[in-house]
Structures are given as structure tokens and as C-alpha cells.
Symmetry: C2
Subunit: 340 residues, 2 copies
């Protein structure tokens, strides 16, 4: 699959300015491979630093051919439409990539390996969202781990749970702490090379898959479990297998600073934070049956605000919730680490 | 698949006295087809009425051959091991059945259709647990239904959620109410011929599958949604997609009268009922975002008690929970219906 020396292009056609491009932005932030180009014909000629806070110099180009001219060996699909289906018009680009010897990394539910079987040479297709094992049924074995298990929960999908988790993980490693990261979504798996595609497991196996992935890190003092979805969002029910599979000792609530409703179901308002935190905590502990995990900090995405406004947003959230709020990208994670 | 005139035998080898035979007992209770025999060599010569409260006369026999001699055309696997895997030693019996022209109904995760492809004549294999569609992603569309949506939740797996739901459904129909039943597990699907195998759907599709099945019954005044699992049980996370997919207006808590712990994880105690009810209610409503569904009644399985002891158990549970308790099999469902 992906090797450290492979040069990567990211397909973001039409989505450099939407918030469905989180796979692409996550790869720019966390993938350690060379990224030679981002493809979005609507923004060609610009730089990725025009669209996100990054010190990497990555040109936006028109087409897969242009990215190949820049050395691309692997094309990563950087867009995650709701439901995980591949739009038909992408196939022209994907066919060209495969026929030019470029490999594909695909994090959507629709699989590409079957389409390109027999059509590849040295190149390959990595369908990140295919479960690699059938786990034992969950039985709360995560409790065997003696350290801290930190689960990121959210007010919604796509609010920064993976970012908070990866920043915290990198911060702990920088301080030479013994830390592990359990990726549970396609981006986390792609950038870390491990973990489980939780939402592609059967409901019956979901807890066991999380439990297995957590126990693989059982020698670490801190295990960060990447969050998925939200108890509030009707499209997502991953929070419960994450809780039962990881038996968290600490929760971090992740949210965007600018949203008062869900992103895709705008009729659903974000509830009072104290009440929403209490719900997450009571579901994690089930009347004292599981560890009494508290929301020890809130990770707020304030990237859409000025420094001064971001400060106000964090103060408002802390006042409303009674829990300290940080932007892990803007502020670093020292504050989060001190809350653990 | 299964036709009303088909004669059925039930495979219960070694499990007539365990509580892993709920598929078999459920079929005896609710399947309207003729049931000509139950296979369990450990109990051969006895009658099903020795093992459960039933007015049906069904002999227990030694082997699939004996059931065929009694007219069996379909063999239903009546045992549901945790995790849904088929033990190797069953295959000798299943092979014999298929080669004798008998059809199979299989509710386990392991599939039988691929094994017997090309080996069948007029007979067939129905793998009940194979999802039949990919749903739209859940978006709380169950709220479009204007009537009552009644979800059965539980203190554990296998405590009587399907039984409570089916008894309530039959009771409503007997009173000429407009009622629908959404089967969500293999037994409910087998005996009603409809519904969804919830635990075999991918996590990402689980809510949408429930939502789709609920909306198919949207013309009914009462929709009963079969419950699965429990918020308390680490092996099961089906409660959350059931809640988000059905947006219940009423909850019924189902439990066994004799258990103080989970069945398969005996280190986990059943919590205080008031607290556990409050947790289920707060997860259903999410701080007022979804309907404020209350646990309006408790359905208690008291089959292991005498009439007098059952009465005491129900009184104790009502006192502890503050909610009226009924045994829907023993007492009928008039009391439950009055709570709606």
C-alpha cells in the first residue's frame, strides 16, 4: 500500500471551498508523504495555503494529467460526500489515473478495487473503508487497559474530532509520553496507516472492532480514540460503539465555534452544552456500570474567526458549559493535556 | 421463500434448555406455519409443551431424517449463538437436509446460500440476516409519521423485547386498531416476513435502514418497533440506531424478572431502574431535540416464576421504577395498551 516515499496528489474537484473536503484537508495536515498537487479545476493556479492554514507549498491544478506531470504516483480522493458514494463523473479522472499507472486511495463506501482488477500494472487501489477482520463480540475488555482512554465526542459530524485527537496524540508524543491513537475513520486510517473503518463494520461487530483496536494499544499510558458522529445527529450512531468498545476514562467534546445547528440537518439546534455534556457522560457510564468518564475539555474549531473573536467564542463556550475550551490547532494542546 | 402451507421443522440440538434457543421458541410462538417437529437428540421423545407454554402439539425428535418422515419441508435453525456463527458440527445435519430436498431458514451471520448454490433442486436457502437494500442516510424522517411510535428497549439482550412487541402488535390488531410491526431481528423477520436485519447493516446505514422500515408503516396509527440489545450490554449498540431511526414517542422497557446481572457478562449488574429509565429517555430525546419519549410501561418476563411470585416481582419492579409492570405473555397486553 502507501509507502513513505510515494508522491501523492489529492482529488478535491469542486470542493476546495466546501466542508466535504475534510479527507483532503486532513491529508495535507497530517500525511507525511510528499503532496505534489491538489486537483480542483475551479481553483487551478492557486495554492493550498489559500484555503487552509498550512506551511506546505502545494499547487492547485486542473487535472490528473497535470498532477502526474508534477510526479504524482498516488491519487487520494479528498472529498467525502454524505453517504460515501462516488459521483459518476469522477470515473473519467479515476480511469485516467489507473491507466497512467497511478495508484488510488479511496475512503468512500463505494469500492474501486473491483472496478480496476486486472487493469492495473505496478499500481494498486486501497479501499480504506473495507473492514480487515471479524472481531470477537464486544465484552468491555478495554477495561483491562490500566491507563487513560480518551474519547473525542462531538456536537456533529465534521467538527474536528479527528483533528483534536491527532493534535493531542502528537502533543503527547512530543512530550515523550507513552501514547497511542486509534483511528476509526478513513482519514485517520490513511494518515496513520492503522485503525478501523468503524462505520463500515456491521452493527453487531462495531463494539468488538473498537475493542480490538484499543487493545492493540494496551501497552500505552494514553490511548486517544478518534471520535465519529454525534449523539445529536440522526445520520450517525457511531458514538455508542465507540463508548462501549473503548470504555473511556475521559471525554473531550469537539465542536465548531460558529454553528448553532447541525450542518446537514439545519432544523436541529445544538442543545445547551451542559445538558449535552451530561447526556454524553451518562451514556458513557450507564449509571456507574462503566468508568465515570467526564468531559474534561472542549476542543473548538475557531478557524473561521479572528484571534480576538476566537477568544470570545472560547470564553462563551466555557461559561455555558463549565468546561475549559481550547482550539487545538490555534492554541496547541498543552491546555488539553493539563485537563487529563 | 417461506409459503403459508410449508411444513417446518426446527433445529434446536442441545439447546431446548438453554436460553440461546429464542429463534426456535419464537417460531413456535409466532410462526403460523405447521411445525411438525423440533430436533434435539438430548430431549427426543418429549413434547415442546414440556419446554414452553404452548398449546401446539410438537414432538421433539432425534434427527433431521425423523422430521422429514413427519413431513418437514423447511428446516429452521432455532439456535442463536452469541456472535451469530454456525458451529461446524451442524453442517452434517444441514447437508442432509439440503440433499433431501428440504429448504433452510438461517438467521445467523454465517451464510448458507453460497455453500448450497448448485446443490439444491426445488428447495431454497433463506439467509434472513442479509440486508436487502442500501438505505438513504438517516435524517429523522420518522418524524413525518403522525401517530405513536413505540420502541422496546431492554436491560439486556434476550429478555423479551420481540415478544413484548409482537404481543402488543397482535393485541392492537385484535382491537381493530391500525397497527404496524417493524421487525429488526432474524426471528421477527422470519415470523412476520418483513423488516430489517439491523445488526447486519453497516454502522453508517443502520439509522437509515430503521427509518426506511418505519416509513413503510407510516399509514398506521401505532408503529411497534422491535427492540434489540441494551444500552447496558457491551456487545450491543443497536439501541441508538433504533432510537434515531424511529424517533420514538413511547418506550417500553423489557426485562427478565429473575436477573440481577447481564446474561453473558455476569460481572455487569442491572442498575437502579429509575436511573436506567432516565438514561434511555434522555438518549431518546437528546435535550428536547427529538420527541420526549417516556418509558410508559415495563414488560417483565416472569415465565420462571409461579403466579404468586410473578405478582410480587411485578410489584417490586413497579415500586423500584415508578412505572407499571406487566408480563405480556402471562397477563395479556390490555394493561400495556392502556399505558400508550
Amino acid at each position: 500500500m502507501l509507502q513513505p516515499k510515494d508522491k501523492v496528489a489529492i482529488y478535491m474537484e469542486g470542493h476546495l471551498e466546501s466542508d466535504f473536503g475534510k479527507m483532503g484537508f486532513g491529508a495535507v495536515r497530517y500525511l507525511t508523504n510528499d503532496i505534489v498537487a491538489v486537483i480542483d479545476s475551479a481553483q487551478a493556479g492557486r495554492e493550498m495555503s489559500n484555503f487552509m492554514d498550512t506551511s506546505r507549498s502545494i499547487p492547485v491544478v486542473n487535472s490528473v494529467e497535470e498532477s502526474i506531470a508534477l510526479g504524482a504516483e498516488v491519487l487520494l480522493l479528498g472529498i467525502a460526500p454524505v453517504g460515501g458514494k462516488i459521483p459518476d463523473f469522477w470515473y473519467e479522472t479515476l480511469d485516467k489515473a489507473i491507466d497512467s499507472g497511478v495508484s488510488l486511495i479511496n475512503g468512500l463506501h463505494d469500492l474501486l478495487a473491483p472496478r480496476y482488477e486486472g487493469r492495473m500494472k505496478q499500481n494498486w487501489v486501497w479501499d480504506v473503508r473495507v473492514p480487515q477482520f471479524i472481531p470477537a463480540i464486544g465484552s468491555a475488555r478495554a477495561l483491562e487497559h490500566q491507563g487513560k482512554r480518551i474519547l473525542c465526542v462531538g456536537t456533529d459530524n465534521a467538527v474536528g474530532k479527528m483533528t483534536a485527537g491527532l493534535e493531542l496524540y502528537r502533543g503527547l508524543l512530543k512530550q515523550n509520553r507513552s501514547a497511542g491513537f486509534v483511528a476509526t475513520g478513513q482519514i485517520g486510517i490513511t494518515v496513520t496507516g492503522g485503525g478501523i473503518p468503524l462505520d463500515a463494520f456491521k452493527v453487531d461487530y462495531a463494539t468488538g472492532a473498537v475493542e480490538t483496536a484499543v487493545l492493540e494499544q494496551a501497552d500505552k499510558d494514553y490511548i486517544i480514540i478518534e471520535g465519529q458522529g454525534s449523539l445529536l445527529n440522526p445520520s450517525s450512531t457511531a458514538t455508542l460503539p465507540l463508548m462501549r468498545g473503548s470504555c473511556p476514562t475521559h471525554l473531550i467534546l469537539c465542536m465548531r465555534g460558529d454553528k448553532t445547528t447541525l450542518r446537514s440537518n439545519t432544523q436541529i439546534k445544538i442543545p445547551n452544552l451542559r445538558e449535552f455534556i451530561a447526556l454524553n457522560e451518562s451514556l458513557a457510564s450507564v449509571c456507574g456500570t462503566y468508568p465515570d468518564a467526564k468531559v474534561v475539555a472542549i476542543a473548538v474549531n475557531t478557524s473561521m474567526f479572528s484571534e480576538a473573536d476566537a477568544q470570545l467564542v472560547k470564553e462563551r463556550i466555557t461559561a455555558e458549559s463549565g468546561v475549559p475550551a481550547f482550539d487545538p490547532v490555534r492554541d496547541g494542546v498543552q491546555g488539553l493535556i493539563e485537563c487529563l
